[in-house]
Amino acid sequence: MKPEGTIQNEAMSELLNQFEYILDSDPLINEVGFIHPSQFATLEKDPEAGSSRSEASDALDGGDGSFWIRDHKLGISSEVVLRLYKAAREQFMNAIAEYKKLGDLSLPSAEALGIVVMKCSKALVLLSPDFGTAWNSRKLIVSKKTQASMFTDELRLSALVLSYSPKSEQAWSHRRWVIKNMAKNRTTLQEILREESDLVEKIAERSKMNYRAWNHRCWLVSYMDREQVIQELKQSKTWAGLHVADHSCFHYRMRLIIRILEDCCRKQEEGSCDSCVEVYLIWQEELDWNEELIKRYLGREALWLYRRFLSLLWIRHFTSDVNDVSSPQKSQCSIQVNVSVFLDKELLLVNSCSEGSDDEFEDFEEQTICSASYMLWLTKQIPETQKLELREKIENERLDAMLKLVSLRGPPFGAI
């Protein structure tokens, strides 16, 4: 009779083999979930769950019900997940240690060991998405290959992990490593960038205010050309309008607009300012759209913070101030708007936002605080002469009331 430990080990490696076989035979798995085994039966009966059988599902016949797969959706029994993790971890640690010991990686034995590392690191990151060492081992092996398909495979694996662990820092970072390497090898990344943007939007839909996801999208901007930046601005508008509390999406738009502005400023330096009008129009449209949203969705902090940014940069780049002769950047821009007129319009907006109805008391209160904060924040950031002018425009009584409101959440009375 075999000792108990050996039987256990055999069972564990059998479980791992089955898992790795499923992953191997269906490279298009696009969802993974840890579910209680009792749910498997329900899934079997569910006509909505689809019915196409595959090589991977055939592999499960005669199995002990640890896995469930259909239509590229994989379910792992929550009862085996710890054992599976331990088995995958052990196999991985042994394989990578051996791989690193190899001197000559061109030998066939190195090739074979590399395949084992890829196989068990895949199982491991699916079970433990932030197991950095497993992701690293994949980078190590992929970096020694030349086939472009390996990069696409890595993007697919990372997307699969992100589909159920959308905040996994390692999975996001792995994508950036892949993209950086693709950029080194290719002339254009346009299609990849588009797909990455779509992926972020898809993940952001399910995982609200996901900093890692949006940070990834912001990171992509540096690889985009002007045309693509403008395209992105158009494309992300609908999503932003439907998710007005998601500050990250508005920050993304901010990033795109700043990038357009930078391009424009560079051209100015080179003496050709043909895009100035275009930037002006984009900006105007964004301010109008933001105002619309502010009036439709009361008391949304994200919308008001976005307006702070839009207005401040607008003032810095497009307004003329008779008292200010110090800004050389402005003088180069062919479009000059009177700052006084601009601030009058903003005051009008703030005033209209302080007149709400009693039915929506809480939202109305938020809206009033946000609008007062917006105005006073702006007075702090603009040049001194404009600041005095603006303060004069706000009547004393009203200013006191605004300061009081702001001190509820922002800086104290005396600091503004």
Binding site: S128, V221, E301
Partner: protein, 319 residues
């Protein structure tokens, strides 16, 4: 309002290591070094560091060190700058920095044409050889090297310039240039600037405004606009406000109350929000936040080095 259940928290931290063999704990093995830092710093802030066997811990830490000089999050894992700082900090807590080969550790962070050097041309820092860049890594490199007293070996000016390039219109900082402001990243950037004597680059009123708007009605702090409050921001936001001298812009009383409401007064530990499950990460940030709020019975913590003030004094003044 309850009081800080300090004894319960000490018991909770000591018990975490002996927790059940479950999947949720198993998948956290890669960041055990961070866990050690959170747990042990909390014990020290509560005056109970002597409840653990320091030799055993130091032996384990050294097992996590790689040939390159960097530390892994656990034995057998790859090294990363994230765990290297935690290792240095824990050794500092035990006054055992002398077990380190300072040259070796600092070389893995520096750019001395060593392949493992992590500072990049633009002054930024990578987390490991795979090249991910983040202002968190800038902080870690600066804080770690400062503790090891070899900050003068890096190009501080370039490192500072990179951090400044990650500053946003709202006064906050992100992971990389153009990245969204986040209270955690702000802590890293402000602390790195504080350590390098470059806080004059921060517009304190502008950043202070953004930071104090993180306090929500319940008294807790969030890390970004429109998010729910979370105890960990009692550290990230509060330490930043402390460094730029704007703590009086928020209500300390309400924040203390929020943190205390997140305690598990029966079994110890602190959670992200009232009635959630506790963990070691939030236990540390809750206690460290209370320390910055000068709560009685908690030792003072240094807002930039994230270590007890007496430990920092010992490092720099040999007290």
């Amino acid at each position: 309002m309850g009081e800080l259940a300090a004894d319960k928290h000490v018991k909770y931290i000591l018990a975490v290591e002996k927790r059940k063999d479950n999947f949720e704990s198993a998948v956290l093995e890669h960041l055990r070094m961070n866990g050690a830092y959170w747990g042990l710093t909390t014990l020290d802030l509560l005056g109970k560091l002597d409840a653990v066997d320091s030799n055993e811990i130091i032996e384990w830490i050294l097992k996590c060190q790689h040939e390159s000089g960097g530390f892994a999050g656990n034995v057998g894992h790859d090294p990363h700058i994230l765990y290297t700082l935690s290792a240095i900090q824990v050794l500092a807590l035990f006054d055992k920095l002398n077990v380190l080969d300072v040259d070796k550790v600092s070389t893995c962070i520096l750019d001395e044409s060593d392949i493992a050097g992590l500072q990049n041309e633009d002054g930024s820092f990578s987390g490991d050889i795979w090249g991910e860049v983040d202002t968190r890594f800038s902080y870690i490199a600066i804080c770690g090297l400062s503790i090891l007293k070899c900050l003068d070996k890096i190009n501080v000016e370039r490192a500072v310039n990179y951090i400044i390039s990650c500053r946003n219109v709202d006064g906050g900082f992100g992971c990389t240039p153009g990245g969204e402001s986040h209270a955690g990243q702000i802590f890293c950037c402000v602390a790195a600037l504080a350590i390098t004597g470059a806080l004059h680059y921060v517009d304190k009123d502008l950043l202070g405004w953004w930071l104090c708007e993180r306090q929500v009605k319940s008294g807790g702090l969030n890390g970004r606009p429109e998010k729910l409050p979370d105890v960990c921001y009692s550290w990230w936001v509060l330490s930043s406000l402390t460094m730029i001298d704007r703590v009086h812009w928020i209500s300390k009383e309400k924040l203390i109350k929020f943190i205390l409401n997140c305690q598990d007064t029966e079994n110890g530990g602190i959670s992200d929000r009232p009635d959630d499950a506790v963990d070691i990460f939030h236990t540390y940030f809750g206690v460290a936040g209370l320390s910055l709020l000068e709560y009685p019975g908690v030792k003072a913590v240094d807002p930039a080095y994230a270590l007890p003030v007496d430990v920092v004094d010992r490092i720099f003044f040999g007290k």
